[in-house]
């Protein structure tokens, strides 16, 4: 059987581990006895280490062939016990190593900067690290330098516009909300199956949303757990994109892998650092909506057009019930506030060359733009310690972080109300300060603020990596980690959200509470080997992964309280319901391997592979293999170019391979019944959970990439160009079914193939660097084309109206708007099938593509002495829904953009909007309904945004002495240039608060 063979393989791997590691373990123990005896001649040797500009702290000083070492202090001084004649080794990162024989008890050593070594940037590739210049895969990277200067709370926000091939959209401006991230486009037909894999310090971090839709109305698509991580704690983020980089992640690498590495301690004197910043946020753009005279003119005309002279009883805006002289800008009223932002962080870092630590703590609060008192708070602590034995054979790295989030938000987003309320709708408050219900003629939007959304989370992530160099090039390494996320969320509906006319007292108040706990552990023992065969350098790695993730969730509701003050006490509710009580387990095991061949640093081949098993699939489809080959040719190291003064670096690389996708949710292959949690006649009901299919398997993604990396003029100009083509097949989807099947979808593999093809360019130039003044530009642009290239039976499938062969996935099929009928004053559409009727699906043939055509960013950094100015423009060329799609029909009791004044009034009129109607005439209403699903509802939503601007000033050292002091101003989304006529062009679902504009100022002290 398949399972057995696979497991035998894994078992073998394990035995080999145990065998491989035991005998050296014995020898290592023997070796652990002191390799030297305390010498007769030993004495104290001291001295100073410096470089050309002065004393150098943190330099490691090692007595060769002994376990003795130390580190130079803040003044560059060191002292240790050694004998005259011993050899001392001085090393410090970025400097050439110096070896000296101790000839006197006092020594002075000068270290030289190692330009070559400074360039040897090492990139984290997950299971291994690789020199940037010698990597065969496609990896994008940003570091703390860029992350730190952004006043945002979510890691994903810091990546926007800075990485080629990574497209990020913020879904809501409400703190704690989510982001959409696509690495090289949409691979899966399932919208929710396109998330990359996140790994924080080696531990996979589930980005699956926590919470429950019952308890998180305000956040589209539930809360995103990545907001637990404070961007200020991050050292670097690497995004793995191509097959060479992702195949080693097998079934979870199809959508790319995001590796997040947190900061670690640095050797040397303990450095304390603290920073404080605060500022404000506000909505980026408002829509231009009608004022009361314009609105009333529209309404009057609408009823006149409908032939209604007696205004209906519920047309309060126009039948005289509401004051027609009132005029409220509801956007300003409901969303026009400013959110306050405060952030404090403290850290201490230091240690010896053998043991280093970092301890950091941070606190952030963010209030909202809504009226009322709402706040998001995050507190976090993180601890990192690294230790290595003096002989460097054993090392240990531990990181642990805990963060607490408290989020209090209104129960419902007010954005929709702000756009739709009639401008002459009544005042929000009565003179006595209570909510005004205007004799039950409206639902005061602020009633929603009486209901509260609160979420609390505690998130622990820990990771330990043990490395043990067993024998020459052979090392054992084990990555161990666990995460523990506890998340509770509640949404209240106190009786005060209801119109008092309902006579609802606290007996109507209700609360929904969800508690989610997510625990995971991972163990990844690995063996690696490095060796040299003449000019061939060989690296090999084998390892296995065991991972388990357990999710438990309890969702409860309580209704009927004796007082609204007791609403958070479920035991005080008269009716309590348990809506969901579930525990799900995901288990995953794998074996993986890598072989890297490097000939003279010129020709490199990298082979990676993985065999995966996952509990998400039925027994017959549980295991699968993935693998890739990557190659690189560093042609600049060929003789022809070594003398070149122009070309300083040149590499051609390519890769091909497979990775997979298992984001399907747990247990989907089982035929089960689920408890409804609802009582009927003393019995709690059961219901069929789903239509089931036991035989679905992995999605596979074949990735091909070719890239050229070139550096000119000593790398002052560095240009990379890459071309990729990813084909994702065996699509794992919930195939939409008609409602007559009892459900709306079934999980199955579909023979469809999706292709993502694109080109990514990055350019970094050092325009000026004369010591005092420097100007660096970094730019990236990604052109991407998404295409459905095969879909057997598309025409007859339920997808026939969703996809088209040769077109992208993210399309909608619409009526083609052909203009206004000047005679009837209603919208007209192309009758594609010519049957005289505009009907779906035959006439919905216009295809709107919502994929960005290209996107990217341009960053400029200027520094002059202590002043640094840095700004990033982010740009996206795309189409999206426009206000015609989201606002109601002009003439109905909803407000409209001012543009809707250009309407048809009498035969012969040429205008952009059709005649107004209050909504009672079927022809006008149908025309409008089609209009919202026509080409007229989509328009250009491209934008160029000043995503980030930061100015900082480091006070001259002469003033601050031992201290370092930096003052800064940081801004996000400061300026948006767009022709889009809705509110903000960055959104995925309509009716939610757009991303905010934020400006903060702060101070950082280090000593």
């Amino acid at each position: 059987m398949k399972i057995f063979s696979a497991n035998n393989g894994l078992r073998l791997l394990f035995y080999s581990f145990v065998l491989a590691s035991c005998p050296p373990a014995a020898s290592a123990r023997a070796h652990a006895s002191p390799p030297y005896s305390v010498g007769y001649y030993q004495q104290t040797i001291s001295g100073t280490v410096s470089d050309t500009s002065g004393p150098l702290p943190g330099v490691s000083v090692l007595v060769k062939n002994s376990g003795i070492s130390t580190i130079s202090d803040v003044n560059g001084n060191f002292q240790l016990r050694a004998a005259i004649g011993d050899t001392l080794v001085f090393s410090f990162i970025g400097y050439k190593e110096v070896t000296r024989v101790a000839t006197s008890p006092v020594m002075a050593v000068v270290l030289q900067e190692d330009a070559a070594q400074l360039q040897e940037l090492v990139i984290n590739a997950g299971y291994y690290s690789v020199k940037d210049k010698e990597r065969t895969g496609s990896i994008a990277r940003i570091t703390a330098a860029d992350i730190e200067k952004q006043p945002v709370s979510n890691v994903l926000a810091t990546m926007q516009g800075r990485m080629a091939g990574v497209n990020i959209t913020q879904k809501t401006g409400v703190p704690g909300g989510g982001f959409d991230i696509l690495i090289r486009g949409q691979n899966s037909l399932r919208g929710e199956g396109n998330s990359p894999m996140y790994i924080i310090d080696g531990v996979p971090y589930s980005s699956q949303s926590v919470g429950n839709s019952l308890t998180s109305n305000i956040i589209p698509g539930d809360a995103n757990p990545l907001s637990n991580l404070n961007p200020q704690e991050i050292e670097s983020i690497e995004v793995l994109k191509d097959a060479d980089a992702t195949a080693i992640y097998g079934s979870r690498g199809a959508n790319g892998v995001v590796l997040i590495t947190t900061k670690k301690g640095k050797a040397g004197k303990v450095t304390y650092s603290g920073s404080l910043s605060s500022g404000f946020g506000s909505v980026t753009r408002f829509m231009d909506l009608m004022n009361t005279p314009q609105y009333l003119e529209m309404r009057t005309e609408a009823f006149a057009n409908d032939g209604i002279t007696q205004y209906p009883a519920n047309a309060y805006d126009i039948n005289g019930t509401w004051d027609q002289s009132r005029n409220t800008d509801w956007q300003k009223e409901l969303l026009g506030g400013t959110a306050g932002i405060t952030q404090v962080s403290l850290s201490a870092s230091g240690g010896s060359e053998q043991t280093r630590f970092l301890l950091s703590a941070n606190y952030r609060t963010e209030s909202t733009v809504y009226p009322g008192d709402f706040e998001y708070r995050r507190k976090g602590m993180r601890f990192a310690v690294n230790h290595n034995s003096p002989d460097n054979r054993f090392s240990l790295s531990f990181t642990g972080g805990y963060s607490l989030q408290d989020n209090n938000q209104p129960g419902t987003d007010l954005t929709f109300d702000a756009l739709r309320l009639a401008p002459n709708a009544p005042a929000l408050y009565n003179p006595d300060g209570s909510l005004n219900w205007e004799n039950s003629t409206w639902d005061n939007p602020l009633r929603m603020l009486e209901g509260k959304y609160t979420s609390n989370s505690g998130d622990l992530t820990t990771n330990a990596v043990l490395t043990w160099k067993i024998w020459k090039g052979l090392a054992f390494r084990s990555n161990l980690g666990f995460t523990d996320l506890n998340y509770s969320e509640s949404t209240t509906s106190p009786s005060t959200i209801y119109n008092p006319a309902y006579g609802a007292g606290p007996e109507y108040s209700s609360i929904y509470v969800s508690n989610t706990a997510r625990r995971s552990w991972i163990a990844e023992p690995q063996l690696s080997w490095e060796g040299q065969l003449r000019d061939l350098q060989l690296k090999a790695l084998v390892g296995t992964t065991f991972q388990e993730l357990t999710n438990t969730q309890l969702v409860q509701s309580g209704t009927g309280f004796t007082s609204n003050a007791l609403i958070y006490n479920l035991s005080a509710a008269t009716t309590k319901n348990i809506l969901n009580n579930d525990r799900t387990v995901y288990r995953y095991q794998a074996g993986f391997a890598r072989v890297n061949l490097n000939w003279k640093g010129k020709y490199i081949m990298n082979l990676t592979g993985r065999r995966d098993g996952s509990s998400r699939f039925g027994p017959s489809r549980r295991f699968a293999n993935f693998g890739a080959v990557g190659m690189a040719w560093l042609f600049s190291r060929e003789k022809l170019f070594t003398e070149s003064t122009i070309l300083s670096f040149g590499k051609l690389r390519g890769s091909y391979g497979t990775s997979g996708n298992d984001q399907i949710g747990d247990y989907q292959y089982l035929n089960t019944y689920t408890s409804t949690g609802i009582n009927y006649n003393g019995t709690i009901g059961l219901q069929p959970s789903r239509l089931f299919n036991p035989d679905f398997g992995w999605e596979t993604n074949k990735k091909l990439e070719v890239a050229l990396e070139t550096g000119f003029l000593k790398d002052r100009v560095f240009l990379t160009a890459s071309w990729y083509r990813n084909r994702s097949s065996n699509q794992l989807v919930g195939i939409p079914l008609p409602g007559t099947t009892g459900f709306t979808s079934i999980q199955a593999n579909l023979g469809a193939t999706v292709q993502n093809q694109g080109t990514e360019l990055t350019l970094r130039t050092i325009n000026i660097d004369n010591g005092a003044f420097s100007w660096i530009t970094a730019a990236n642009i990604s052109f991407a084309k998404n295409k459905l290239i095969a879909f057997p039976g598309l025409e007859s499938s339920t997808y026939s109206q969703q996809y088209a062969i040769g077109k992208p996935l993210n399309i909608v099929m619409l009526y083609e708007y052909t203009g206004l009928d000047p005679e009837t004053g209603t919208y007209q559409f192309r009758d594609v099938d010519g049957d005289g009727v505009i009907s779906s699906p035959n006439d919905k043939k216009y295809i709107a593509d919502f994929n960005p055509q290209y996107y990217g960013g341009i960053q400029n950094t200027f520094s002059y002495k202590g002043i640094t100015l840095d700004f990033l423009f982010q740009f996206v060329k795309q189409d999206n829904w426009n206000p015609n799609y989201m606002l109601g029909m002009p003439g109905a009791m909803v407000n409209q953009p001012v543009a809707a004044l250009d309407r048809w009034q009498q035969p012969g009129d040429i205008s952009s909007f059709q005649q107004y109607s209050s909504g009672t005439r079927a022809d006008v209403l149908n025309a409008f309904s089609r209009y919202t699903q026509s080409s007229a509802a989509v328009s250009d939503a491209s934008y160029i945004r000043l995503k980030n601007l930061s100015v900082s000033y480091a006070l001259p050292q002469a003033w601050t002495q031992q201290w370092k002091c930096r003052l800064f101003v940081e801004a996000q989304n400061l300026l948006t240039i767009t022709s889009y006529d809705g509110a903000d062009p960055e959104f995925t679902a309509t009716g939610y608060l757009p991303p905010l504009k934020m400006i903060t100022t702060g101070i950082q002290l280090t000593f």
């Binding site: 590691s21 035991c22 003629t441 009580n581 009927y680 008609p738 007559t740 909504g919 079927a922």
Partner: protein
């Protein structure tokens, strides 16, 4: 340095730890490799096969179905159900709630195929039909369920499945008749014309009558038995114009010894009412009906809905139902009226009212109508007067076929108002929707007699084309 010894110890400790770790990892993984990827069922789910091997869990599936009828879909008393929506769609109710409420398109007779509510009505109804079919199939293949329970469960599932199809047909016209859980069949299923559907439902209900027990299993009639299937069958016969069968079936219901005519108007809607044929138990002890919560308001102007003045004017002078089942609410120097059949808006110490699905008065009116159509005018008048009498009215003066039919229609209007769309269906059966609603409802069009099929549904299954006229 002084840390040397320290480092040594730590180093040694870690080495030992490392060895332990490797060995443990190795052993643990080797022991558990083969089934590491096997996970147990989640806490909230039960394996499908086992559900129908046990009477308790099989009953729980039916309980799930009944609670869904009560809390959602077409027949719920919540605002999204037909009691409220069709009351506005026809001429019973006026709407006063928010401009974004889901009732607005119903009130304006402006339903659209794309409205999400239209899809959810359709989908939730077919989801219940799926569950019914799952019960029928599961019971059939069960190894260990006693015969008596097999029959009862199959009968209950057939009854609910028929009820769902019946409502769908009256709202949408020709619709798919679904009798299997196989999605491959149901994905491409075609529509069945209304008359053909009725004969299929007749067969199903005759079978249900065979299978269901004669006695109610609970004193409060919350689990349907044979007589409930007969009551629905009487209605199906009436709607399909099979007058003799309709009148026989109604007679069988009226003559049932478990049902006793309730003479007090204020007792009819209490949960102990003897004339109730089937009602849905409340979710929790003390909870009352969703209808009560939807329709009752205390202050004026009404925040959500109120009976239309035209409707209130339809009561004859002296009709006690106007007094007992309609309540006046005064405010702002004006009077509004609310339905008061169910009188409890909130919870009470113990539940007082349950949502009634079938009651005896309708059966008398079914028989009256069927009798007129067969020429039995005296019998018809007797049945009609039985209902009038309870309302404190004298016997009907109608003596001809036409006047009697008119009188029955008028009686149904004031007897069955806000009960799951009876008024709308009556106007439709009588063929007088346009006559009654044009002028009363500004948005009314002849094609509004049928709801639009949800657009998503037509896209997913082109066999359901064409769309109903007018959409």
């Amino acid at each position: 340095m002084k840390t040397i010894t320290n480092n040594k110890t730590i180093q040694d400790l870690f080495r030992k730890l490392g060895i332990i770790l490797i060995v443990t990892c190795g052993t643990v993984s080797c022991n558990s490799c083969s089934d590491f990827n096997e996970v147990e069922l989640p806490a909230s789910q039960l394996a499908g096969e086992s559900v129908y091997e046990n009477t308790t869990t099989a009953n729980a599936v039916m309980a799930g179905i009944y609670s869904k009828l009560r809390d959602g879909g077409l027949l719920t008393g919540l605002p999204a159900g037909m009691s409220n929506q069709l009351g506005h769609y026809a001429d019973e109710l006026d709407f006063y709630g928010s401009a974004s409420a889901s009732t607005i398109p119903f009130y304006n007779n402006a339903l659209l195929p794309t409205t999400r509510d239209m899809s959810s009505l359709w989908n939730s109804t077919y989801n219940i039909i799926y569950s019914c079919n799952a019960v029928i199939e599961g019971v059939a293949t069960s190894q260990s369920l006693p015969q008596q329970d097999r029959d009862r469960l199959t009968g209950e599932a057939l009854l609910v499945r028929s009820l769902m199809h019946f409502y769908l047909a009256n709202l949408y016209g020709a619709i798919p008749y679904v009798t299997s859980t196989d999605y491959k069949i149901n994905t491409t299923i075609t529509k069945t014309e209304v008359n053909d559907l009725y004969s299929l439902l007749v067969n199903d209900l005759l079978q249900a009558i065979e299978l269901l027990p004669q006695q109610f299993s609970t004193p409060l009639k919350v689990i349907p038995n044979q007589v409930v299937a007969k009551a629905l069958l009487a209605r199906v016969y009436l709607y399909s114009g099979l007058w003799a069968e309709a009148s026989d079936m109604a007679s069988a219901v009226i003559g049932n010894q478990n049902l006793i005519w309730e003479t007090q108007l204020d007792q009819v809607f209490l949960k102990e009412s003897s004339s109730t044929i089937w009602q849905l138990a409340s979710a929790t002890a003390g909870k009352n009906t969703n209808e009560g919560a939807t329709f009752i308001f205390e202050t004026a102007p009404p925040p959500f809905t109120a009976l239309s003045n035209a409707f209130v004017g339809a009561f004859e002078q002296g009709d006690l139902r106007r007094e007992y089942w309609v309540t006046e609410v005064t405010g702002d120097n004006q009077v509004w009226y609310r339905p008061n059949k169910y009188q409890q808006k909130t919870t009470t110490a113990t539940s007082m009212e349950y949502s009634i699905m079938f009651r005896l008065a309708e059966q008398y009116l079914i028989r009256a109508e069927a009798r007129v159509r067969q020429g039995d005018l005296i019998g018809a008048a007797d049945d009609l007067n039985k209902v009038r009498e309870r309302a404190g009215l004298t016997g009907s003066t109608a003596t001809t076929v036409e006047t009697l039919l008119e009188a029955i229609l008028a009686e149904r209007r004031v007897e069955l108002f806000t009960e799951m769309g009876q008024r709308f269906f009556d106007l439709k059966r009588y063929g007088i929707l346009d006559m009654e609603l044009i002028g009363v409802k500004p948005g009314w069009n002849s094609t509004d007699s049928l709801f639009p099929l949800p657009e998503a549904e037509l896209l997913a299954n082109p066999n359901l084309l064409p769309q109903n006229p007018g959409y």
